[in-house]
């Protein structure tokens, strides 16, 4: 090797081994600063994103307007569309090309998603896997592109790369200018139950009809932002999307007997709705309960027909970041107006609507639209008035997915063998929970436009947190698990997790990582760290600041700190940047008393201590045996020790105490007598001194919350901020001085910090039953609605034993272990 190259390679090696410039590291001892500020990790504030977490004075974002004509070809289960797209370049940069998201291409056999799917079964293959493979072979997926032109019809060059398409412009689009692109396309609709996904059709073999859910269905302009440029990350199936806001006019042509639900407001009801349906809609605007626009009977009647003509439903939606729609002749349709104070920036009336087949009944007509309205009531209180004129819940094959003004929600009631469609409490709560979650997404991220393809937790976590608040306000004892700290501990103790701040496609366990853990973190931040008043103000500030804008995680972190006035870097570091968990152990409690040095007090106390010890029984047994003591038999042997024990106070002791008191001065202080006064007060108060020893076994620093029970039965709750760990994050000691004697101490008595091991939280130690032990005491959930319909066999039980009944005399009496 030539020497110059050798030197060069040595230099490269040396650079690689050197610590990164500017990196701060603890290079002596193992101290870990859990409270190190995060500024070194966060992006430097700019003119577009302020250090306060607010949009900066030079904030900008692009705008994209769409004018779309689309036809649903029911027989072929195919979409054909044409879009006129106006792109407004509000950025300070000239753009030579535009990137489009072409998410339907995910279903091509040569897509990154298809090619990176792995098969790990050793000796079997499922029918589901085969069904998917067969469908994808029979029904080609992905976009069939037609003409791609400018506004004058001149062809534009383009390149498709997996789920992205680059369209090259004739000349760079200058800042402040706009351009038009026209695209024709078609694709075969996926059967959701075969290939999965967030849209598609569902076929009902019983009546031969389909429900069509159309989402991510047209070439959508990718986002272009101040912090990432083009957001051109291919779609692999997990990270959903972010887009630009814009105005949409969409004409949807479907069979005449279909009902269409879509983002936006219907512009031509006279063309597609009957007079009666329009009258019902008018009545629904001010109704107290949902009003059927299309009844179950009317929907059922259409199931046996096939219209030969078509209807074009025209929708208009302003300032939305996407557009989705649904179509079927099976849809029952109900609606109810929701009145709100739009604060001059949002509608004062929102039409809450639900669309569902008979298979969703009776649950859907009872609870879907009610849940939509409940969501708006609760979410608006914590963020901003619902920003759009419609809020819709549509049942179909997708378990749950959100788009502006429209959501797809999967839960139904399965018929029992006898055709009964009663539902359990759990089924009802399942539907309510899914509707709340998906409608909630219209706030986050459809309005607060975070990027789910990068950060799933930013909308799923925040939305799940608000869902928890909404579910807890529903009533009837509705349970809400995601957000309750006790349910996240098993996940947080796992050794294989990744931090919340992980890209969407690299997450293990989406549900816990991106939904439950951030929701729990925010709930703890509200309930335990900041308190509701501070948190709610700060969170609403975040929502208001970033409504119709594009926040990053750092904008959220900065806003919550800046608006609450509390340094939360330690909280973000622990909950969002690490995989630590919470386990604070109360290892030892040492009770102490003040050594007064006063011999009158101390000797008496020592004597009392000795007398409190169990008596050595040897002497008593001797006495019982009739043995007498020599000194009793000959008193002349007794001297002064017979009248004075080791605790007798002498003048020597008293003189020493006097000297001690005289020494209680601080000659260096302007008030040299202060030690004497402190001493005398402590003696007078005669308090109990407790030293509590804690260890932080989980690594995540959190407030130390103590429930203290005193010997007299009274109670105290002591809440010490997390900063108590700042100089000693692994272990600490805390002094408690109390007038009363402590009988019991419990760390985190309300289970509000997600402490993973509550057995080490108690002084004195206390066994906490495991889940399995608790199970043995519990009763199971019942279908109360069904059980209540069962008739009593006899009003008065017959005392005569039934024929064939045997004696129970030898049976075990049912008992429950306490």
């Amino acid at each position: 090797m030539p020497s110059i190259l050798r030197h060069l390679s040595l230099l490269v090696l040396a650079l690689a081994l050197a610590p990164a410039y500017g990196q701060i590291a603890q290079t002596k001892n193992d101290f870990e600063d859990k409270f190190r500020q995060l500024d070194e990790s966060w992006p430097t504030p700019t003119a577009t994103r302020s250090a306060t977490g607010a949009p900066g004075p030079a904030y900008w974002q692009q705008q994209v307007d769409y004018d779309i004509d689309v036809h649903l070809l029911e027989e072929g289960r195919r979409i054909e569309g044409e879009a006129r797209i106006r792109y407004h370049n509000n950025s300070p940069e000239a753009l030579a090309y535009l990137w489009f998201q072409m998410d339907q291409n995910r279903f091509r056999p040569d897509s990154d998603d298809s090619l990176t799917r792995t098969f790990g079964e050793k000796d079997r293959i499922t029918y589901r896997t085969l069904r998917r493979e067969q469908f994808m072979e029979d029904v080609p997926g992905g976009y069939d592109l037609g003409a791609v032109t400018d506004g004058k019809g001149v062809a534009l060059p383009y390149v498709v790369r997996d789920t992205l398409m680059r369209v090259d412009l004739p000349k760079p689009l200058a800042p402040g200018k706009e351009t038009e692109v026209r695209i024709q396309w078609a694709f075969n609709i996926q059967e959701t139950n075969a290939t999965g996904g967030r849209a598609g059709f569902e076929h009902f073999a019983e009546d031969g009809n389909d429900i069509f859910l159309l989402a991510q269905w047209y070439p959508r302009l990718a986002a272009f932002s101040d912090y990432e440029g083009w957001h051109n990350k291919a779609f692999l199936g997990n990270g959903e999307f972010t887009l630009e806001f814009g105005n949409y006019e969409v004409a949807i042509t479907v069979p005449e007997d279909h009902v269409v639900a879509a983002t936006g407001v219907l512009q031509n009801p006279r063309d597609v709705m009957s007079d009666e349906e329009r009258a019902r809609m008018k009545a629904a605007e001010t109704a107290e309960d949902p009003v059927f626009i299309v009844t179950a009977e009317e929907a059922l009647a259409k199931e046996g027909q096939r219209a030969t003509a078509a209807h074009t439903w025209r929708f208009k939606a302003d300032n939305v970041r996407d557009f989705a729609w649904a179509s079927s002749r099976k849809f029952i349709w109900d609606a109810q107006g929701y009145a709100q104070d739009g604060e001059g920036v949002a509608p004062d009336r929102v039409m809450a609507m639900s669309f569902y087949p008979k298979e969703g009944e009776p649950l859907w007509s009872r609870y879907s639209t009610e849940s939509v309205i409940h969501t708006m009531e609760v979410y608006s209180r914590y963020s901003f008035p619902y920003p759009y004129p419609t809020a819709q819940s549509v049942n179909g094959p997708v378990g749950g997915m959100e788009y502006p003004m429209i959501t797809f929600n999967g839960p139904r009631t399965d018929p029992h063998k006898d055709g009964d469609r009663t539902y359990s409490r759990g089924e009802k709560e399942f539907l309510i929970g899914v509707v709340i979650h998906e409608i909630g997404h219209i706030y986050f991220p459809m309005t607060v436009n975070s990027d789910e393809r990068q950060w799933t937790w930013m909308d799923e976590g925040i939305n799940t947190f608000l869902q928890h608040l909404a579910e807890m306000e529903w009533g009837e004892g509705m349970r809400s698990d995601r957000g309750d700290p006790r349910y996240i501990t098993d996940y947080m103790t796992s050794s294989r997790q990744v931090p919340i701040m992980t890209n969407s496609e690299s997450i293990f366990q989406f549900g816990n990582n991106a939904y439950a853990k951030p929701a729990t973190a925010l709930n703890i931040l509200r309930e335990t760290i900041l308190g509701r008043e501070l948190f709610d103000f700060a969170f609403r500030e975040y929502a208001q600041r970033w409504k119709f804008k594009r926040p990053t995680p750092y904008d959220l972190f900065r806003t919550l700190e800046e608006a609450s006035g509390v340094d939360l870097d330690w909280f973000w570091r622990g909950w969002f940047y690490s995989t630590d968990h919470v386990d604070i152990s109360l290892d030892r409690v040492v009770k102490m008393r003040l050594d007064t040095s006063d011999p009158e007090i101390e000797k008496a106390w020592e004597r009392a201590q000795q007398q409190a010890e169990p008596v050595y029984r040897f002497g008593a047994k001797n006495e019982a045996a009739g043995l007498t003591l020599r000194t009793d038999r000959d008193p002349s042997l007794k001297d002064l020790y017979a009248e004075n024990d080791e605790f007798t106070v002498t003048n020597k002791d008293r003189n020493g105490f006097d000297e001690f008191l005289e020494g209680l001065v601080d000659k260096n202080d302007s008030d040299p007598e202060w030690p004497r006064r402190v001493y005398e007060r402590a003696v007078e108060e005669n308090a109990n001194y407790y030293i509590l020893e804690f260890s932080n076994l989980g690594g995540l620093v959190m407030p130390v919350i103590l429930g203290i029970t005193y010997a007299d039965g009274s109670e105290e709750e002591l809440r010490m901020p997390a900063e108590i760990w700042r100089r000693s994050p692994k272990a600490l000691r805390k002094l408690l001085i109390r007038d009363k004697e402590i009988a019991q101490i419990v760390v985190d008595p309300h289970w509000e910090t997600a402490d993973a091991n509550v057995e080490n939280n108690h002084y004195p130690r206390q066994f906490v039953p495991s889940r399995l032990e608790m199970y043995r005491y519990k009763r199971k959930e019942r279908n109360l609605m069904s059980d209540l319909r069962v008739e009593r066999k006899t009003d008065t039980p017959d005392a005569t034993p039934a024929e064939g009944a045997e004696s129970v005399a030898d049976d075990a009496v049912p008992m429950t272990e306490e």
Binding site: G120, Y127, H416, R425, R482, F510, R771
Partner: protein
């Protein structure tokens, strides 16, 4: 018989993929000195389990309110979660119970005595055939802390590679 692998078709099919299904199970394994048994608690999101239950139990299913179907699902999990020794011997677990708690479905099993130290191999196939993204996490708790195995369709069986499971300090 020729050396080609034989693919067995398994009748587990067609649960729809929802954008917000959790597709995750979490199992904890820990020794309880009070009962002198290794407690195994499987936690499934009911959201997932209800979609899958009809397929795995082969009957119409309202899992939340149907105790019999819950037990059928529990037996399915009991059979698809397997522990074995270093010699490859399957360990005899006892299916203790099943319950719905809010949005969660819990299934409980035990290993009599403190057999934790004998666990060498873990297989957890529940729901793996239904969804490509299903992940079954198993947390083993012992005096050293927690060790997590993540079992997926491509790797439904893994070894506990470090020290054998030791009892928790009493």
């Amino acid at each position: 018989m020729r050396g080609e692998a034989l693919l067995l078709l398994v009748l587990l099919a067609c649960a729809p993929l929802g954008a917000h299904q959790q597709k995750a199970a979490l199992t904890t394994v820990r020794y309880n000195p009070r009962s002198d048994e290794v407690e195994i608690a499987h936690r499934f999101y009911l959201h997932d389990a209800e979609h899958a239950a009809q397929e795995v139990t082969g009957a119409e299913t309202i899992l939340r309110s149907d105790t019999a179907r819950q037990w059928a699902f529990a037996r399915y999990v009991h059979e698809t979660f397997r522990l074995s020794t270093a010699e490859g011997q399957p360990m005899d677990k006892v299916l203790v119970g099943v319950e719905v708690d809010g949005s969660l479905l819990w299934i409980y099993e035990t290993l009599p005595g403190n057999q934790g130290e004998a666990i060498a191999q873990v297989r957890h196939e529940a729901l793996l055939s239904l969804w490509p993204s299903q992940e079954n996490w198993v947390n083993f708790y012992d005096s050293d802390g927690v060790r997590t195995l993540i079992l997926r369709r491509e790797a439904p069986e893994q070894a506990l590679t470090s020290a054998p499971l030791r009892p928790l300090p009493q």
